[in-house]
Amino acid sequence: MKETNALKDQLYAEESDHTSKGLQRRNFLKLAGGGLAGVALLNFASCAKDDGPDDMNGSGLYFGSGDIAILNYAYALEQLEAAFYIEVANKPFSGMTDLEKQLLTDVRDHEVAHREFFKAALGRGAINSLEFDFSAVNFSSRDSVLGTAKVFEDLGVSAYNGAGWLIKDEQYLLLAGKIVSVEARHAAVIRDLISNGSFANSEVIDGNGLDVSNSPTAVLQAAAPFIKSKVDVRDLPTY
């Protein structure tokens, strides 16, 4: 866990002089890590080592550069969410209500639609399908499924919020905007299923009324434990 903390600190060192905001972000990451058995950041550390010669030899899925890389980044996240909710719908947790089933099936279909859209839009520029590892999720447990869903949805919102300014093409930016608000709707619903009224609580909304925003690097780091495939994001715009 020492390494986890070191990475977190390094990641947010820039913000360390702005205590409240810095703390809020740390709490968010802690939250993200908590649901994931605390392995997220540790796994990223080993991933980071792969970011050298191996990937230079083309052994990872190359995202491309510029806007294409950002679209592939979004495509990767949508693949992750789609794969997760397909599993959720296939193996309903015990006690899933009709309303929950309906909502989670809708969310699955939205994520699959996003995934298929990116695949079609990227055409030959699209990365291959990623493989995922959901072994940390207990799909028969409502708490485990919704807890993971919350992490994914909040993370997805923060990813689009944080990548918007990196997008050069206005049409791509607008498309990201069309998707992120749907992800935010999902996040609200999942949060309310866990605890009614938590749709936009202080875990994710700061004192200025602003939602979370994360860099591509921070998002991929949080998602890393779930992604089995090796990715090459060396030219992905980030900060």
Partner: protein
């Protein structure tokens, strides 16, 4: 004069300005490098009343214009939820009242945030008439009407921010902040929609996401809020031609999956209904 000069002037008067608009000083520098120019000529406009009928026909063209446009919408929402929360007996106590207070506090925070960013360029709050000249006469006495209008405002807000993304493109600080507000509005919209569903009646089948054009159950009065939400084509791809888990995506799923933008004139036409002349 460019945006950097403006921000520097504001910073002299208000030393905490940079911290308020961004937690990272570096981000501010970055924005200057991108160099969104704001001409001096734009400033008097920013000081004038935003919602003059004359202005209602034209869209913001620069960063300050977008921020003032956003501020006006946030004024509207903040006042709406403040009045609603204060009206005894309107909102059931418990979870409902708590949720409306949460939303109210975010809208107030958005107003304060945008005023802080705009400084002396911030437009003044207009006078609102939430009955829209009597069309929603019971807005503060009937809970279902109150929630219906709340949903219309939230869904409009989500669309309004989206519609301005192009002007803010590449602007690390302002675009990011706008996106961070935008997703909060979407969270609100989803929750208010769920609150309405729980009430049953005309909203019994309301989903947290928007299905087609005007799924609100409110009626034609809010058609302009949902105009274009039935769009099936994204970036040249018709979503219903793609294959999902069980065959082609239905128009319902295709439209739920993407929220559509609304142009500034369309948003202003809606907002003007609630602004006293």
């Amino acid at each position: 004069m460019n945006l950097q000069n403006i921000f520097e002037s504001i910073s002299q008067v208000d030393p905490e300005f940079n911290e308020r608009i961004s937690p990272r000083r570096q981000a501010i520098r970055n924005m200057f490098n991108i160099g969104q120019k704001v001409s001096l000529a734009a400033l008097p406009f920013a000081l004038s009343a935003l919602f003059n009928k004359a202005y209602g026909q034209s869209a913001p063209t620069d960063v300050n214009g977008v921020l003032n446009y956003a501020l006006t919408l946030e004024y509207l929402e903040a006042e709406y939820y403040t009045l609603g929360s204060n009206r005894v007996g309107l909102i059931p106590s418990g979870a409902a009242a708590e949720a409306i207070r949460t939303i109210r506090d975010h809208e107030i925070a958005h107003v304060e945030f945008l005023k802080g960013v705009l400084g002396s360029n911030a437009v003044a709050k207009p006078n609102f008439d939430f009955t829209a000249g009597g069309a929603f006469a019971n807005v503060f006495s009937d809970y279902d009407t109150f929630l219906a209008l709340a949903q219309a405002f939230e869904d409009t807000g989500v669309r309004a921010y989206k519609g301005q993304a192009g002007i803010l493109k590449g602007n690390r600080v302002v675009l990011t902040a706008a996106l961070q507000i935008h997703s909060v509005e979407a969270r609100h919209a989803a929750h208010v929609r769920s609150m309405r569903r729980a009430r049953g009646g005309a909203a019994a089948n309301q989903k947290p996401w928007i299905t087609g054009a005007n799924d609100s159950g409110i009626g034609a009065a809010v058609d302009p809020v949902y105009a274009g939400e039935d769009n099936l084509e994204q970036g040249g791809v018709n979503i219903t031609t793609l294959t999902g888990v069980s065959g082609r995506f239905t128009p319902a799923i295709a439209t739920q999956s993407f929220d559509e933008p609304l142009t500034a004139p369309a948003v202003l036409d809606i907002a003007t209904l609630f602004i006293e002349a």
